[in-house]
């Protein structure tokens, strides 16, 4: 029984990761791509790790490691996305032409 739950979580995780990759291809500029990549990959990876934890049994060496990895992914992945977006903006990567507003560029030019 716990096995089929584990497989279900892993399938959900892989689906969201796939959607994130699709977002990387379809969306127009680096900021939008980061949005898709960060969100889907965070939930997708967490779901896969949780599936792995269920498969191993939560209270043992494998399961605990998977749960701790969920915590680390949730802290590091938004931080990495923030660093990439900030770096790209400082380096001058343009937003998509149809973007409506860029307050940060305006404030930097002051």
């Amino acid at each position: 029984m716990s096995n089929s739950f584990a497989v279900a979580f892993i399938i959900i995780g892989v689906t969201f990761d796939l959607l994130g990759c699709l977002g990387l291809i379809r969306l127009p500029d680096i900021y939008n791509r980061l949005q898709a990549a960060t969100k889907s990959v965070t939930l997708g990876t967490c779901a896969i790790l949780f599936g792995v934890a269920l498969e191993f049994g939560i209270i043992n060496s494998g399961g605990i490691k998977a749960l701790i990895c969920i915590l680390f992914v949730m802290f590091t992945s938004p931080t990495a996305a923030h660093a990439l977006a900030r770096g790209s903006h400082i380096r001058g990567f343009k937003l998509w032409e149809e973007s409506v507003v860029d307050k940060l560029k305006k404030d930097r030019e002051k």
């Binding site: 699709l22 949005q35 898709a36 960060t38 969100k39 889907s40 923030h82 937003l95 404030d107």
Partner: protein, 162 residues
């Protein structure tokens, strides 16, 4: 000193969870490693961590995690909708919002939460101001933007940390 001790305990319990063994040699190695890591990272450890020892704050903090997970799930459905829709319904832009949180640790969690929730990504933080890339800028009014982007987390984090 109390802070150092708390940091040491957190790192040492992390070691025990990762090694998952109570043999004397593993515990001893853990003590040594945790001691040196505590010394090396003393300036990185957030000052306000001890506030979480207060039971009321701890409970609210624990409640924050499922709350955040709910919005992460919404964010993923949102991404799925935008990516799979053949017309690509996006209206992106970088907006500036002001937070009323004063505490650095709370601001970090707020910025990371913004990145994980529907359609928003923190690009830059400057004092009290967050520059947020928003995939669907639905309003030009700063107050409404603030409420839509920060509102739901800010209220909760203020009760946990301030």
């Amino acid at each position: 000193m109390k802070k150092r001790l708390a940091e040491f305990i957190v790192i040492f319990s992390m070691w025990i969870l990762l090694t998952w063994s109570v043999k004397i040699q593993d515990l001893f190695a853990g003590l040594v490693v945790a001691f040196f890591v505590t010394i090396l990272t003393r300036r990185l450890f957030p000052d306000d961590f001890l506030k979480l020892l207060n039971p009321r704050r701890f409970l609210l903090g624990a409640f924050y995690i499922p709350y955040l997970f709910y919005y992460i799930l919404l964010a993923n459905l949102d991404v799925a909708y935008r990516v799979l829709n053949p017309f690509l319904p996006i209206r992106p832009g970088i907006v500036k919002v002001k937070t009323s949180l004063k505490n650095d640790f709370a601001k970090t969690i707020l910025a990371n939460s913004i990145t994980l929730t529907p359609g928003t990504l923190t690009v830059e933080v400057d004092g009290d101001y967050f520059y947020v890339h928003w995939i669907n800028v639905s309003s030009d009014d700063p107050e409404i933007q603030r409420e839509l982007i920060l509102g739901r987390f800010e209220r909760m984090l203020r009760r946990v940390f301030e």
